[in-house]
Amino acid sequence: MPGPIQSIERAAAVLRLLGGAGRPLALAELAAALDLPRPTVHGIVATLRSEGLVEQDHASALYRLGGGLRTLASGWDRHDLRARAMNWADVLAGGTGCAVYLAVPEGAAAGIVHHVFRPDGTPQTLRTNTDHPLHATAWGKCLLAFAPVSTPAPRDLELRRYTGRTASTVAMLEAHLAAARTRGMATDVGEFESGAGGAAVPLRSGGGLTVAALGIAAPVEQLFGGGGEPRPAQADLLRAAGREISALLVSR
């Protein structure tokens, strides 16, 4: 197996420096911090600029993080996402017996891009193009946990209490998000609608950036075991579908 690619390690270090400095940096500062010759560092920042990941201030010639970092997470056309995810979303619904949702950051909400009915013959209404609350749904919390740059910070959200289980304080929401990051999966145990459960995993495009959340929805008792953890069979299918769709998002 080949070792780490040096130029990518250095590019990542440049981004970390620019992100952590709290102010724009000069080329000389970057070169000093990385202990590299200036021409080498210039090549790296020039490449990152061409990718939109770094910007250079015209007047001062100082470097800072670029707007491309934000559009990396939201730049996918939502209908391209649906087209790529659709077959796997059907497989997921068929395998789990759950409804399937695909959600993307939409301002201060989770925008539903795709919805597959629960395959049980019950009357259901298509929720495509509706907004769900970020703090009270599995897919919303998944976006908050895994796409923090393209979603508002928890303290900036209106944490409306939909049910007794809704994370209606910043501390509670932060705890939910930490658990989601640990588990790699966000859950909703009746927090938006009493008795309605959900679980969601991030869909990652090239570079591992989260661009959407893939979720399954079913009654709480169908999705969760006694300990409040998602049932392994359904969680495994959700993770597998998430991996497969993510693999289709690596290239545009």
């Binding site: 209908h79 391209d80 649906r82 059907d90 395998g95 919805h115 009915f117 395959p119 259901q124 298509l126």
Partner: protein, 508 residues
């Protein structure tokens, strides 16, 4: 290229029971799909084949290449699912219809490349039949008037132009088949059969007796001994000697009829529409052979058991291909899916209409000299309005075919089952529901064609007991309810009609 679409093995229900394999031999690729007893797709493998364009209007496939692809995708699909031939209860085939191949009975080698359904070289042969006053005979017997669309004239062309073809056919050395015939013959090591749905697209079969018509064969000057035996859609034609040794080949359907079965449209009046580059609507007409008025084509739906079920077919030439044109020729969008994003930038079409009569208008107009028009342009119109108009053209063309189907019989269409790539476009599906004023439904799993092939094969070997079991496998994945005020629908319908009028008589 192969694409795994299998679920996680641990949750699968197929390790301890058998599955059914389907080969979908399509226009651009050949695929193998495996289905569980509940109709879930477990794995798929796919390979594309080359399109040969020797001259304008001619499109050919190498039947040998397609056979090689079959021999590769079937083991690939099995491998993905972790299964062997012993796990396969039966194999079914769905195929591009009307594509015509002839081969040597002794060597198995095709005498020429297959002539595909898009190929229009048989124009002069068809014109001859019409000039000879045979239109009525064809209409009465095969169900439709002579057209370049069907396989029979292609066979005649091959007999006339390929060295040794006619002599070989008369001597019994050269065989004819559409793609399912060719594949069954190769798979079984020499069983020469076709199925009623494919045979009904040859212009050589009697739609009532479901047998080759001696009169039609005589008119086309085709030796009967080169033709395959016509069989039902669900029966064991033979057992594989290659690719899946020991597995019965137990079902075959033309692709559009396969989608009718896959969508479980088993009751008279039920309609499915498959949206691809073009669109195909098939309506189950039960035991009744529909009239061919308004350019719709009566055809065999399927024969499972003894009683044939007929269908009325309406085809739309340009649907998805209009979106491709919008993307590739106009450069308005980067991907087909992005047309929905662009269309959603505006609330309506702004008074703009696109009539995609790129090679004339098909059903129900049949205007060969019509050409495409964009009307209603003003300074107000943006790319978003054009995107709307492009999508709406598919919906209005669907409505025209449904209107013709409703006019043909007393049973109006009350809901539409859809499948195919364009069902990913929710804005379009909502608009189809709006202009038809009926609910539009998409089933779970977009593989209606392959599923239909699996269903007939599984029925033949008793893997599934009856059609009701298959109906229970159909699950609604999405439903679009009509949500357009009647006055808006009527106004837009009238505008579309006026736009279509303006496309007439352009070519002089």
């Amino acid at each position: 290229m192969t694409t795994p679409v299998s679920g996680d093995g641990r949750s699968g229900d197929y390790r301890h029971s058998q599955v059914v394999a389907a080969i979908d031999q399509g226009t651009t690729s050949t695929r193998c799909l495996l289905f569980s007893r509940t109709g879930r797709m477990l794995a798929v493998a796919q390979r594309e084949h080359r399109q040969h364009y020797p001259e304008p209007g001619r499109v050919e496939h190498d039947a040998e290449e397609i056979w090689r692809n079959v021999a590769r995708v079937v083991p690939e699909a099995l491998k993905r699912a972790g299964l062997g031939p012993e796990n396969i209860a039966a194999l079914g085939i769905a195929n591009q219809r009307e594509t015509t191949v002839i081969w040597n009975r002794h060597t198995g080698v095709p005498l020429a490349r297959a002539i595909t359904w898009q190929d229009t070289r048989t124009g002069p042969i068809v014109a001859e039949l019409v000039e000879a006053g045979l239109t009525d005979l064809y209409s009465r017997t095969s169900g439709f008037t002579p057209a370049t669309y069907f396989a029979g004239p292609r066979l005649r062309w091959l007999l006339d132009h390929v060295p040794g073809a006619r002599e070989g056919a008369e001597a019994g050395d050269v065989l004819f088949g559409t793609m399912e015939s060719w594949l069954i013959w190769r798979l079984t090591g020499g069983v020469h059969v076709t199925d009623v749905s494919n045979a009904s697209r040859t212009m050589m079969m009697d739609l009532r007796t479901l047998e080759w018509s001696p009169k039609l064969l005589e008119a086309l000057d085709v030796p009967e001994r080169m033709l395959p035996e016509i069989r039902s859609n669900a029966e064991v034609y033979g057992v594989c000697t290659e690719v899946l040794p020991g597995v019965p080949v137990a079902g075959a359907l033309g692709d559009q009829q396969a989608a009718l079965v896959g969508q479980t449209c088993f009751a008279p009046g039920e309609v499915k529409c498959t949206y691809g580059t073009g669109a195909f609507l098939l309506k189950n007409t039960g035991p009744r052979i529909a009239g061919s008025a308004q350019g719709l084509i009566p055809t065999v739906g399927y024969l499972i058991g003894d009683e044939p079920v007929y269908a009325l077919e309406g085809s739309i030439a340009v649907t998805g291909s209009l979106v491709q044109w919008f993307r590739d020729s106009l450069g308005m969008i980067g991907t087909a899916a992005q047309i929905e994003t662009l269309a959603m930038t505006v609330p309506d079409n702004g008074g703009c209409y696109v009539v995609p009569a790129f090679s004339g208008l098909y059903a129900p107009h049949w205007q060969a000299t019509a050409r495409g028009v964009i009307v209603g342009l003003t300074g107000y119109i943006t790319r978003g309005h054009l995107a709307r108009a492009v999508l709406e053209a598919t919906a209005w063309q669907t409505r025209e075919v449904v209107e013709a189907m409703n006019a043909e019989s007393g049973i109006p269409v009350t809901r539409l089952k859809v499948d195919g790539g364009m069902t990913a476009d929710h804005l379009l599906m909502q608009y189809v529901a709006d202009v038809l004023d009926v609910p539009v439904e998409r089933p779970l799993g977009s593989e209606a064609v392959s599923l239909g092939a699996a269903y007939v094969a599984g029925l033949a070997v008793g893997h599934w007991s009856d059609l009701e079991v298959l109906r229970a496998n159909w699950h609604r994945a999405a439903l679009w309810r009509p949500d357009m005020p009647a006055e808006v629908r009527d106004r837009e319908r009238a505008n579309w009609g006026r736009a279509v009028d303006r496309s007439y008589d352009w070519v002089v």
